[in-house]
Structure formats: C-alpha cells, structure tokens
Symmetry: C2
Subunit: 101 residues, 2 copies
DNA sequence: GTAATTGTTCGACTCTTTTCGAACAATGAC
DNA sequence: GTCATTGTTCGAAAAGAGTCGAACAATTAC
C-alpha cells in the first residue's frame, strides 16, 4: 500500500455497500468477512473487500480460517485529514431504517 | 436538487478530472465551462459537468451565451460537514507533470 | 435574416465495474 | 488422511461510465 490516491479512496467509498462495510468497521473494530450485516453472495462481498483493500481503506490479516478486516484510520487520516471523519459522520443515503411512529 | 447522496457526491469527486474542475472552482469562484484548464473535447467536458451537477456538487447558471459554474459550498457543507474541505485540502494524486530527464 | 460562440445532446463505441456460481486454497477439527 | 468452514479467484454475463465527433440549441452581433 505505497501510495493512496484520493480518487481511488473516494471511488471505493462511493458505493453504498462499501460505505456500509466501512461504517460497521468504524463501529465494531476488527470484523471477519462473514460477520458483516450484508446479504450478498460471498464472491460479490469478496470483490468489494478487494476494492476497499486496493484503495487502502481497509487492511486484512489472516487469523486461523478467517480474515480479520480493519479500517486503516491512521493512514487515511495522515493522507487525507478529515476525510474519513466527514464520511463517517455524514448521513447515510437511505439507511433502511424504520422510524418509530 | 432535493437530496444530495453521499455515494453520488463521492463518486462525482472520485474522478481526477472532475476533482480538478472542483478545485479550480474552489480557487477561482465562478467559471464558464470554456475557461477550465483541461484539454478534452467539449462533449466530454460537458459530460463531467453533468455528473457534478447531478450529484449536487456544482450549480450552473446561464449568463448570455455562456454557463457560469460554481461550487455549491454551502449545500455541501450542510449535507456533509467537513467533506468538501477535506477533499480540497488533500494532496492531488499525480498532476500530469513532466519530470525533467 | 446569416454567422460566430458557447454548451448540450445524441449515438456509437470502448473500457470498466458489478454480479454470481463454480472451482479452488487454506486452515482447523477429527 | 477426510470433512467443514472461511474467503479468494475464475469466467462469463450484464450493467455502467467515459470518450468523442456530429448535430443541435441558445445567445449575441451584424
């Protein structure tokens, strides 16, 4: 992960599903691929992880039979100060959530 | 421009050329389409303006025979606090500049 | 009216991205 | 060794985005 490029990072974050993944990582810390709250085939999910990894947004390490993913907060903050925070605090497009009442 | 969506905005900003347009607008204020420092056919340029407009990143108003473009700073800041500033202050990927030698 | 200027739209083409099942690899349990 | 679990990679299909010339629209000047 020598160079992170702003367009690549923005692109990686421009997909609603990937954004959701990033936010869950921000909330939960390290998570294995299978524990995300998304319902898509694992090959599709794996693709999105690859996009995020290639952009430098997440890091993955093997732990036994599973891959633990984490946000590369420090690197992102260093390269693009304020960006991750802005993205994490922004209202999600249409989070499928029912308002009470 | 009812709702701006974060993925749409991030996507619009994820292209190096569009990023360059946005930065020139940030520096210069209002600019007509023909005054940007980019060398591509006008139909291609028009396409990128449309992407930025549709995402809510820029606004365009007609003034005589030309279209004046401006950054929708206030709206962007309101919808996604800190995002535009982070993007504008981030180092640009690799400005196509020839190294001597 | 004609002509010049500024941008958009159209249409076709190319390239990239996304999707998803199937096959594969790596680990752990047995 | 076999078997189950977790994820990646492969391959092909579908969808999407970018490029660019040509045609078109809108304005201004004449």
């Amino acid at each position: 992960m020598a160079k992170m490029s702003l367009p690549d990072v923005l692109y990686a974050l421009s997909d609603p599903l990937r954004l959701k993944i990033v936010r869950q990582l921000a909330d939960e810390g390290e998570m294995s691929c299978g524990t995300f709250d998304v319902r898509i085939p694992k090959s599709s999910l794996s693709h999105h992880f690859k996009v995020l990894r290639d952009a430098g947004v997440i890091a993955t390490r093997g732990e036994g039979v599973r891959r633990m993913n984490s946000l590369r907060r420090a690197e992102l903050d260093a390269a693009f100060p304020g960006l991750l925070e802005a993205v994490l605090h922004a209202p999600l497009p249409r989070e499928r959530r029912r308002l009470a009442g």
